[in-house]
């Protein structure tokens, strides 16, 4: 009825990689010869072995070539390939060789042998390979079967026995004589649906055994047929039943696997979503909430964010926001507009950081809206509590400002001589002019015209002195100012006001080359002044007192670099930095000065970087050093 060795060999070849097939074939040969040589002549046994192997090698080789997982029978594609190649094509082809060998050695009729061989080989392949594969693949899984599944398996087995008993006992009474295999069908279908291709294989195997027993009992099956015809009918029935059943089993398994995968993906997603401390909601294209995570639900219930009030499922979140916005909240208005822009596709995404003191909680939130990449549209809204981060940022900024202030005060202290000189000049002018004025008034007749000129000059000098004192006061003040739109040239000019005398006192010529009409930048005036002051002061001090070879000059240049940034360069003709100093100078506590703190440049760089800029130091080929920093051009000012 069925010839198992080929099928078993096929199953093993599917499991073993081709480079180790020789060992399997060797084992098969050993078993084959051990059994067959007792009955048949060696040439015949050898020839049969070759034909048997040809079937297995053909089936396994082609299946391996066509599928990625030859030993699995869990998708329709894999099962179809197996059924067509291993179940039909391989037995079909190899049976020609088989029949030739048998008819040659045993003098049997060729086509009779071929038919017999084909049917029994095909049935064996269909029943045994999936069964063996199922046992090999699933032996681990079987241990984990719940009790119900065990009971079900036992029930199926019992069903097969009952049916076969019923069939053999019942002949003639219920008219099963002419369709004795029909009762097996429901059981086969059951196994296909519940136990997959492996189950089909095993149950077909069982059916064959039971049916063969019945068939051999004489008239239990097809009593009107000869025994050869009975067997052939049995084979044809089982082959025809197995083909669709295997496919059904594979389909069911495939579907189940897909379901499982989907379920685990869903579980993964929902547990990820639940684990996020941020508040997450998914909305459809109209703004209706489709899903929210646990954090969102909690926040909504406690009313932490006003924008979340009544974020019920199916409610339009846009309407909720619009209602809140109308009542009081600018944050809700911004959120509403942001979501809307993402939903209608006018923005690729939306992010906003804002402060909220709703419900007595001072909190910083970052709201972000990301569009859903599905044809239905929609978006994912996230509210993340960034209070801790913001506090840390503000704290960092505060300490940076503190440090900047400290170094600023230090620098101003260093500049005392320069500043007093800077103030003394206008004071001298005022004093001299005033005294001259008194004399002109005392003269007879008083020279009033000259006195008027004198008063104008006095006013100008007083203005100059007051500019200096105001700038000094600014520099000494703790800076809590906001960013403002600035002209870098003004920053340089302010700084020159403070430091020009320092250059004079140290006998250094200080020159400015300011680019006409620089684009504006955004920043803190005082801090940027501090940067320029620091660099200029370093440059002046880099030219030592006894440096008499070559020029003693410091050049401050402003320039527009590209569409995005302006640059300030402070170049000196001093001795230059030591080797590697162009990096070290920015490290805290590095100093080449006798009274240096080593904080000026790190602070200056930190200030520039806080303004979104960069700072670097270059050694000039002519000797001396150039410090340069770039600041981004303010987009708002450019508009």
């Amino acid at each position: 009825v069925l010839w198992p060795p080929n099928a078993v060999l096929t199953a093993f070849l599917l499991f073993v990689p081709p480079r180790r097939w020789w060992s399997v074939l060797l084992g098969a040969a050993a078993a084959h010869f051990a059994v067959q040589l007792q009955v048949w002549s060696p040439p015949f046994v050898t020839a049969i072995f070759v034909t048997n192997c040809s079937e297995a090698i053909f089936a396994a080789g082609v299946i391996r070539y066509l599928t990625d997982e030859p030993s699995k029978f869990d998708t329709l594609r894999r099962v179809s390939i197996f059924v067509l190649i291993g179940g039909l094509a391989a037995p079909f082809v190899s049976s020609f060789l088989d029949a030739a060998v048998v008819s040659l050695f045993n003098d049997e009729r060729y086509w009779h042998v071929w038919k017999m061989r084909f049917l029994s080989n095909a049935l064996a392949q269909l029943a045994i390979v999936p069964a063996v594969a199922g046992i090999l693949n699933g032996s681990g899984a079987v241990h984990k079967w719940p009790l119900g599944r065990w009971l079900e398996a036992v029930a199926v087995g019992a069903g097969f026995i009952l049916v076969s008993v019923a069939v053999s006992a019942d002949v003639g009474r219920f008219g099963l004589a002419n369709a004795p295999l029909a009762p097996y069908l429901p059981l086969l279908l059951w196994t296909a649906v519940r136990f997959g291709s492996a189950g089909v294989g095993l149950s077909v195997l069982g059916t064959v055994l039971l049916a063969v027993i019945s068939a051999l009992q004489g008239d239990a099956l097809f009593p009107t047929m000869s025994s050869v015809d009975r067997i052939r009918a049995l084979q044809v029935f089982l082959i025809c039943a197995t083909l669709p059943l295997m496919c059904v089993g594979a389909l069911v398994e495939e579907r189940q696997n897909a379901d499982n995968a989907l379920r685990s993906t869903d579980m993964l997603k929902s547990s990820i979503l639940a684990s996020i401390p941020s508040l997450v909601a998914v909305i459809d294209r109209n703004g209706h909430i489709i899903a929210v995570n646990e954090s969102w639900r909690t926040a909504r219930d406690t009313g932490v964010i006003p924008e979340l009030f009544s974020g019920e499922l199916d409610a339009s979140y846009l309407n909720v926001l619009a209602a809140v916005a109308n009542r009081r909240s600018a944050n809700a208005r911004a959120a509403h507009d942001g979501i809307k822009s993402v939903l209608d596709g006018s923005a690729p995404g939306f992010t906003r950081e804002y402060f909220s003191s709703e419900g007595g909680h001072d909190q910083w939130w970052m709201m972000s809206v990301v569009p859903l990449k599905s044809s239905e549209g929609g978006a994912v809204i996230t509210y993340a509590d960034i209070t801790a981060r913001k506090h840390a940022e503000l704290e960092a900024q505060r300490s940076r400002d503190e440090l900047a202030h400290t170094t600023r005060v230090w620098v101003m202290g260093e500049l005392t001589a320069s500043l007093s000189h800077q103030l003394n000049q206008p004071l001298t002018g005022i004093m001299g002019n005033a005294q001259a004025g008194r004399r002109f008034l005392d003269a007879t007749p008083p020279n009033v015209t000259e006195v008027q000129h004198i008063l104008n000059d006095i006013i100008a000098d007083a203005q100059r002195a007051s500019d200096v004192t105001r700038t000094i006061r600014d520099m000494l003040r703790k800076d809590a100012s906001q960013d403002e739109v600035l002209d870098v040239n003004d920053v340089v000019r302010d700084t020159t006001l403070l430091i020009a005398s320092q250059a004079v006192i140290r006998n250094v010529s200080l020159e400015c080359e300011l680019a006409p009409s620089l684009p504006m930048i955004r920043g803190k005036l005082i801090q940027l002044r501090q940067v320029v002051l620091n660099l200029t002061m370093n440059a002046i001090e880099a030219i030592s007192e006894d440096w008499t070879v070559g020029p003693r000059s410091v050049l401050v240049r402003t320039e527009r670099i590209d569409a995005k940034s302006v640059e300030v360069v402070v170049a000196d003709t001093g001795l230059g930095l030591p080797d590697g100093g162009d990096q070290q100078v920015f490290e805290p506590l590095f100093t080449t000065k006798k009274t240096g703190m080593g904080m000026g440049l790190p602070i200056a760089r930190a200030i520039v970087e806080a303004h979104g800029g960069t700072m670097s130091a270059d050694r000039l080929p002519s000797g001396g050093t150039a410090f340069r920093f770039r600041l981004p051009i303010s987009r708002r000012a450019a508009e």
Partner: protein, 210 residues
């Protein structure tokens, strides 16, 4: 610097601060003095090459050449123009250095008008005195040129305190002749007394010529 001798003393102001320059200029104008003003030491140096006399009100700290640099260069060129330093911060060391190099005064900014004017007047007076002396010397020289060789020899000897007789012995002539020469010398040199003749000879450096 012979050409200098013909110049009237002038006042120069060298300060990098235009406001300070204007104030000083006005102060001087209020007492009827005029001045030339310069923004840098280099500018004034160019002017000084043509010869200057009088006084310079000079700022110590200036971009480029400093006031002290300028003083050094003027000294090196043999100029005897009076220098009054005006500085925003005069420490002792600076003052000593400036005075040693021949500065007349070191004033601190802001300055008192009277102090400044006094210093200028003082400088001008000194310059005027020097000029008077220079003119007198020139007159002496001119007169000396009119003497004959023998008269010069006689003058050179008598101012050393030699008696006529001794002079006659030295020159190998009669005492009488010497007497006549001597009267001629007194007359030509316009000396009212012998003492004055000695002083004139001293100014002309006569004894040293011996």
């Amino acid at each position: 610097m012979k050409a200098v001798d013909d110049r009237r003393p002038a006042i120069f102001v060298v300060d990098d601060d235009p406001s300070v320059r204007a104030a000083i200029k006005r102060l001087l104008a209020s007492v009827g003095l005029t001045c030339e003003t310069y923004g840098t030491a280099a500018d004034f140096l160019k002017r000084a090459e043509q010869g200057v006399t009088g006084c310079v009100l000079l700022d110590v700290r200036m971009p480029g050449l400093s006031g002290m640099d300028l003083q050094r260069m003027l000294n090196a060129a043999g100029s005897d123009v009076a220098i009054i330093f005006v500085t925003a911060h005069a420490d002792v060391a600076l003052t000593v250095r400036a005075m040693k190099a021949g500065a007349l005064e070191v004033l601190t900014k802001p300055f008192d008008d009277q102090v400044l004017l006094d210093a200028v007047h003082h400088a001008l007076d000194r310059e005027r005195n020097r000029q008077t002396e220079r003119e007198a010397l020139r007159a002496y020289r001119e007169r000396f040129e009119t003497l004959t060789t023998r008269e010069r020899e006689v003058m050179a000897l008598v101012v050393t305190g030699m008696l006529n007789k001794q002079v006659a012995d030295t020159l190998g002539t009669a005492e009488k002749t010497i007497k006549a020469h001597r009267a001629q010398v007194m007359h030509k040199m316009q000396a009212d007394s012998f003492a004055q003749l000695v002083r004139i000879a001293d100014r002309l450096g006569l004894p040293a010529n011996r």
